[in-house]
Each structure stands twice: as structure tokens, then as C-alpha cells.
Symmetry: C2
Subunit: 338 residues, 2 copies
């Protein structure tokens, strides 16, 4: 048997964000049709190393794919000059159990997470949304921004906030056009204004859609700052105890999950759910149900909508399969007899 | 970053069973000292394909290793001419989260499972044991036999039974010496008698140690057949509903687990535990506690001892690391930039 092994540079050459968005949309829809299985996720904290690992796994029936992803986040690596975010994705053929490929999981995770955030904005923000606010200027933020600009060409203004270090937001805003052009081949960026913001309450005055992508463990955004009609794609909170927005924002919002079980267990919904601000019945549904037309997304221009994304191996598997197919087509990657 | 990718043939060239036995012994001991973490295992049944997959994962602190193994068992593959048993093992450095290697998991699983069975026999069978009975003549049985002959050079007679197809046991016994010599480099086999047996009740009359390695889901061995002083290493039952020996055998036996939580959840102990024949207090301990001298194994020549092994990713990780180190030393495997 042969498998293909793909490194980060191989995948960077191959994967195009618009195709990833389309793949993620398809998986969310398949999930809403009961054609996927999400296996329980696993996480572990390495105390001494101040690090965390998680294993996500699942099965995409219609695509005959199953597999697992192990992702490690070791922030102290930065001081050692090695990536903080390392992981591997295993993709198997579900008709035979034969391995199809093994690959770096960090880049795929970033791409599919950006796609998820963007699909949340596209499906649940007001159609006339022009002002985007990205909260968080870490490694993942550029993927959220790139995918959202592809999915929402009507965006005119992008604000970047960093609740922990304003200068990082400034740097991010300064480099945004260059990175979006070079790394994601996005064109016509000159009509978009990019700026860093210090005062979130002020920024939220005319923000239409917010993407939160931080490591926060207590709310950064207060309910009283939020104007009617705002959309939130909450991406950062993907483990127990992480939290980015005021739980009170959930009280009257129209709420969607990528996976309800995961979101109430360890997503942005975890805290409001545990506090009793929301119940399972408060959740309108999963994003896939909106994307496949099963349920309505936003109902009025005035309501707050929230998409809570905790991450699904299903997205990685489908994105990984796209990478495998393209790599074979283009002669990239390493074929190994296994 | 570079990782090494090892295929089944690479690993076959590298791994020696005595080193695997030593590695497994070490991990069991580390486990008894609280220096390992076993993360919850996961299994899924593919109805249509009559197949099953499981994910085992864990952390060996002292060795700075963590990782996961996904193993697929698709028995219908045989008709397609592809292996029924496919899987991959991911090994990471737990100080940095950096991936060290990726490899075929099927061969490593067979080798470390054989080592586990053999360590059970060595630690818990009577020291003067001469007669070994292997129940099951499938793909895994040769590994159990080879490891036990290495660990127990006093064995003089090996009986093979196949409760489902006697002819398979006959074939197995006929080929045993050749396979043990060629595949495992075991010498001095001419002093050992190998034979297939049809009647288990008769065979158990003068059997000292039994290794069960079948896919049975109801007992093959009845309590009334078992003479005092017999040892059982129960290997086949590693998923809910699997069962190889009469639950009543557990009633007065001295019982050991590879991992107590796993064994009562889905090992050979599952059924007697659910039936109330044993409680958690009936379990003397884990094999690692015996191997490290923390608790006594067999107490008298007359008692029945049972070792229930459900399989631990810890064993795969340490075995995988041995393979990685030897491969680098010998210039085998494929180095890939990841």
C-alpha cells in the first residue's frame, strides 16, 4: 500500500481558500443531513510545558473518509524557534480502512477554521454588512480575514483589535494587504480600509460582523457595547474554560453551533449554558442546517446572531482529501510504501 | 521540521521481539508508577462494511512521548486482496509537541500485543509451566506464540486450538517452526512439540498457561474444564461484547488487568463485571504492579491467574520510538519535511 505524505509547504502550494470554503460548506451540509459522525474529542493539558493537545476524529459517510487529527499547542516553543502549533492529520478510506494520506495539520486547521468563520458571517450577518471587526491578531487571524473577504466581497472596512497587545493589532493592520495579496491571492483590496482599534466599545458602534479569535478565558466584549443586528462568529473558544464574549450577549441572540454537543461542552456557549443563560432549546440549530436551507438563519435585521465554532475533524478530513487529490495531480508530496 | 515515515516492511526489518518485550515491560512498570496517562479510547463500528476502527492514545511522561493510533479492522478486505488490518501510529515529542514519526501500526500492534501476552504468562503462570495452549489460529496468534517462547524458554509443548475451524489450527501447527525461525529468528525449536487440538476440555487437562486470541463473543472455555494452577492471558477481548472464557472462571481467580478502567469497560472482565461475578475489588491489580514488584502475582501453585489485556497506546508509542531510533541508525524509512 502507498500513502502520500504532505508537509506544510506542499499544502500551502496546493490549497486554495475558495475551494476550502466550498469543502467546509459541503461538510456542514452533509452533517445537517446526518451523513457524518463526530467522534468524541479529547484534550489534555501538559502542566509543566503550559501546553495543550487535542484529538478530533470523525467520519464523512458520503465521501468515504474517516480519520483523526492530533494537534499540539506549545506556546513556549516560540522561545526555542520552533512552531508552537504542530499536528498531524490521518485520512483513511472508509470502505476499506486503508490509509490515504498523512499530513501536517496546522495549516489545514487554519484554513478550514477561517472558512468556518467566514461561512458563519456569510450565513448569519446582515446581507448589507460592510464593517468587519476581527478581535485577536495572533497567528490564526489572517485566515479568518482572508476567508471572510472571499466569502463577503461587500466588506469595506476591516478593524483589528488585540485585547492583549494593541501594537500587535497595528502591525497586523499594516501588513494585512500585503499578506492577503501574497499568501491568499486576494485582489482589489485597495477599496477596503484596514485599521487597528483600541476601543472596542467605540468600534462596535458601527460594526456589522465580529470574528473573535483569541485565547481569552474571560469576556472581552461586553453586552452594552453591542448594537442590534450585529453578528458574532466566535472561533477562539474551543476548549473548556475559554470565553471571548459576555455570556449575556447570548440571552436574546439567535444562536448557531458547528456541533451542538461540542459547543455546549467546550465552545463559547459553554459558560452561558453552565450559567443557565441559555438552554439547549435556546440554540436555533447548527450552521449546516442554515447552509442547507433546513432552517432559517437571521430572521430580522435587528437581532444579534452568533455562530459558535469549536472545530470538527470532518472539516480537516475533507480539506485533507482535497489536498491529497491536488497533490497527486500536481506531483507534489512524498509517496511512501506503508 | 522533519519526520520519519516507516512502512510495514521497514519496521519488520528493524524490530526485534525481545526488545519489544523489554519496552512493553518498561511501560507497564512506568504505568504502575503513575508516569503514564491513558486517554479514553474510542471505537466505531461501520455497519455496512462489517468493520471496526479504534483510536487509542496516551502519554508516557518519562520518555517524553505522546501520540495516537488509529487502527481499522475490515475483514471483508480479504476478498479484495488487501490487508484487513490497517492503521497508523503518530508519535510526538511531549516537550515540544513536534511530530517525530508516522508509521504503519498493524505490525507494531501485533508485536506489542504478543509481548503483553508473554509478559502475562511469565509473570503469572507457574514457574514450572511447560505446556502452553494458544486458543485462536488467526493472524495474531504467531506473535503471541513467538513472544511467549522468548519469554518462557522452559515451554516444551505448544497446543493450538481454533474454536471456529480446526483445519486452521492444523495448518498453524504445521507451519509454526518455519515461521518462528524465519520471521522471529527463534532457535532451538526442535525440543518443542507443536500440535493442533480439537478437544479443548482434554487439552486443558495438562495445560499450564492459556493465551486466548480469538474474535469470540461468547465463552469458548468452560470453567469445569480448567484445572487448578492454570494461567490465562486473555488477549482477544478488546471491545464491548467480546468474550473468550467462562465468566465463572473469574470467580475465584487472582485477576490482573493491563488497565483496570479499560478491562472492566471492554476487556475480558467486562462480562463477569457486568454480571456481578467480580467487582473492582476482585481485581488484584495491574500487571505493571506485578512486574515492578509492587504487588504479588501468583500466590499459590493451585490458584487460577488471569491477565486481561485490552491494549494501550502507551505500548505502541514506546515500540514506535524504538523503531524510529533504529531506523535512523540503520538508514531505513523515509524522511519527509513536514
Amino acid at each position: 500500500m502507498e500513502i502520500i505524505v504532505l508537509g506544510r509547504e506542499d499544502i500551502k502550494k496546493i490549497l486554495e481558500l475558495d475551494k476550502v470554503i466550498e469543502g467546509v460548506r459541503k461538510v456542514y451540509c452533509l452533517k445537517s443531513e446526518g451523513k457524518t459522525v463526530v467522534w468524541p474529542s479529547l484534550e489534555y493539558h501538559f502542566e509543566e510545558e503550559k501546553a495543550v493537545m487535542d484529538i478530533r476524529s470523525g467520519y464523512v459517510k458520503d465521501e468515504n473518509l474517516h480519520g483523526a487529527k492530533m494537534l499540539n499547542n506549545f506556546p513556549l516553543n516560540i522561545e526555542l524557534g520552533i512552531p508552537s502549533f504542530c499536528g498531524m492529520l490521518l485520512v483513511f478510506d472508509s470502505k476499506t480502512g486503508v490509509p490515504l494520506g498523512v499530513m501536517d495539520a496546522a495549516y489545514i486547521t487554519s484554513m478550514r477554521t477561517g472558512a468556518a468563520a467566514a461561512l458563519g458571517v456569510k450565513a448569519l450577518a446582515r446581507k448589507d454588512s460592510k464593517n468587519l471587526l476581527i478581535v485577536g491578531s495572533g497567528l490564526q487571524s489572517i485566515y479568518m480575514l482572508a476567508a471572510t473577504l472571499i466569502a463577503m466581497p461587500q466588506i469595506e472596512k476591516v478593524r483589528i483589535a488585540d485585547p492583549f497587545k494593541y501594537e500587535n493589532a497595528v502591525k497586523f493592520a499594516e501588513n494585512a494587504i500585503e499578506r492577503l495579496t501574497n499568501e491568499f491571492k486576494i485582489e482589489n483590496l485597495d477599496k477596503i480600509e484596514f485599521c487597528a482599534v483600541k476601543d472596542l466599545s467605540e468600534a462596535l458602534n458601527d460594526t456589522d460582523a465580529v470574528i473573535t479569535i483569541t485565547r481569552a478565558t474571560s469576556p472581552i466584549i461586553k453586552k452594552e457595547w453591542v448594537k442590534p443586528g450585529t453578528h458574532f462568529s466566535c472561533i477562539g473558544a474551543d476548549m473548556i474554560g475559554k470565553e471571548e464574549i459576555d455570556p449575556e450577549i447570548f440571552r436574546d441572540a439567535r444562536i448557531f453551533a458547528d456541533d451542538i454537543v461540542q459547543c455546549i461542552s467546550f465552545g463559547e456557549m459553554e459558560i452561558p449554558y453552565k450559567m443557565g443563560i441559555i438552554t439547549r432549546e435556546s440554540i436555533a440549530g447548527e450552521l449546516g442546517e442554515v447552509l442547507s436551507g433546513k432552517i432559517e438563519g437571521r430572521k430580522t435585521d435587528d437581532e444579534i446572531t452568533i455562530f459558535d465554532a469549536t472545530g470538527l475533524a470532518l472539516l480537516d478530513l475533507v480539506t485533507g482529501k482535497v489536498a491529497i487529490d491536488l497533490a497527486k495531480e500536481k506531483g507534489l508530496g512524498t509517496i511512501v510504501e506503508i
